[in-house]
Symmetry: C2
Subunit: 311 residues, 2 copies
């Protein structure tokens, strides 16, 4: 079953203790769609500028990702410069040029309308809501956001959350959204805002899923215990950029590849999310995600299982 | 098989967002021995003052803990005042009175000499080494330490680490001991200092075990993958004091209760460690640890399994 994702397709310049990469293909929708492409069909809604060339297009084509919803606009693509020299767990933004993204009006191609899944990557909640409303037939909607939208665009964000099935955010964002420091109470507060499930990402410590009292159409996940998936302890994190978007891509990609969203599928999806995130951070940008095999993914899944299972 | 533990038996005054408790029975050896007592025989080496009354003695007696190695000295017991009002994950020390602990000369009773296990709780590494040397027949030695000893008594601490089988410390202590920020490389560095296994505690995120190239006498845990055990997401952490010592008590207590230290036993011990830590933080001081049942422990173990296992 196909997933449509809306979000940024961008260029990043990143410096980390391992080195530096200039203007690499990046953006939340890029990480998400590459990660999800190993599991299911992916369709992208985004905008790029004239600096998006055949070389970048070829990355999407090689993974069979549908880019008919990627608009080409005059000007330059979204550009971000970040540094992890001080802290590998948190990027310091040095420069953000919205460029063509500043006037982005997402248009969903008619051919995307039979997508069963929709992922609203981290962009202006007004745009998230517009894409959600433009795809009334989707069965499951996931989303991400960030501190900026939580702090300064809360009303708009709350409208998005009301229509979400699964929200994927990190610890800091969860506490900020909830106004509560205890992780369980914060999760309960966020679930009260609309999402049926909340996946809280803990960086190097993995992720925890919390479930609300409303059930999914497809499964029986209501009033469920939380579930915790690990991250892989890595001897070198080359570039953490995109780990969260890759997690989301692996997570939703796996769910979309299964006939039904059962509790067992949800749990395995958390593991696949961690697996895809662990690959991403091993190289700069989307390099590692571009050339994986399903065998490598399954091998790492087995390591994640061994890392956490008693038998 | 019996465990001997050396460490502090103390009184704590603690304030947390949930309230305040004055002069409650505490100390690393107290938390450790109470937690371990649900699994195996425990013997304590410590010193207390005249403020340690029949009431405190009764707590140890009720759990069948051998206190023949707890010396009664003139003066007051070790006393600590800590606050978690600013940060529930890290205590702010308001007052430390070593009292009788300042001149502590641990003496191991002859009756303890057949203990197969020894745990060196967080005290001066000179004392840890002395107790280790006084018990040449033990088969497995575990230990803990803290920033102060790592920073200011490093040479003495290194002598202790050389003779350790399993070291249990937290993330910060691991990085400080290794001088490395990457968690995997830091763990490898610490394993190079002597311990055959390192259990790194992550607070609310659980704990990860790393294994060195030297094997255990009893098992085949060399060159093993890391193993990660969860912590239970709790809606209220009343008092985090002693969570790490309770983890160590559950961990070593379970190992000591088993005929052989296999990889399967090591992994289950990590889970029992997390279980005992999760009980401790639910109430102030050692209150919760004093009145558990094995059934409650097994029920929570089952929750920990459900929290992490795919099937």
């Amino acid at each position: 079953m196909a997933i449509t994702v809306v979000g940024s397709v961008a260029f990043d310049t990143v410096e980390t203790p391992s080195g530096r990469i200039d203007r690499c293909l990046a953006g939340a929708a890029t990480y998400f769609s590459l990660a999800a492409s190993y599991f299911t069909d992916v369709r992208v809604v985004a905008v790029v500028g004239e600096d998006f060339t055949n070389k970048e297009q070829a990355v999407f084509d090689a993974r069979g990702i549908d880019t008919r919803g990627v608009e080409r606009a005059p000007g330059k693509s979204f550009f971000w410069v970040g540094s992890y020299l001080d802290n590998l767990n948190e990027a310091k933004t040095m420069q953000t040029d919205l460029n063509v993204f500043a006037s982005f009006e997402p248009k969903v191609p008619e051919a995307y309308q039979d997508s069963e899944f929709l992922f609203l990557a981290n962009i202006d909640p007004v745009l998230q809501k517009r894409v959600r409303d433009a795809m009334p037939k989707v069965k499951l909607v996931g989303g991400d956001t960030m501190n900026y939208w939580i702090n300064d665009h809360r009303e708009n964000l709350l409208k998005v959350l009301q229509g979400l099935d699964i929200l994927l955010i990190n610890d800091t964002e969860t506490k900020l959204l909830a106004g509560h420091r205890n992780p369980v109470k914060a999760a309960q507060d966020v679930l009260g805002l609309g999402p049926k499930a909340l996946v809280v990402k803990h960086g190097e410590y993995g992720a925890t899923a919390f479930f609300g009292t409303r059930s999914f159409n497809q499964g029986g996940l209501d009033a469920h215990h939380p579930f915790r998936a690990p991250a892989l302890p890595l001897a070198e994190v080359v570039d953490p950029t995109g780990a969260g978007d890759s997690f989301a891509g692996g997570f939703f990609g796996y769910i979309a590849s299964q006939p039904e969203l059962t509790p067992a599928v949800f749990k395995k999806a958390m593991f696949y999310g961690g697996v895809m995130g662990s690959f991403t951070v091993e190289h700069f940008g989307t390099e590692r995600l571009q050339h994986l095999t399903r065998e490598e993914i399954e091998e790492r899944f087995a390591i994640f299982r061994e890392l956490t299972h008693l038998d």
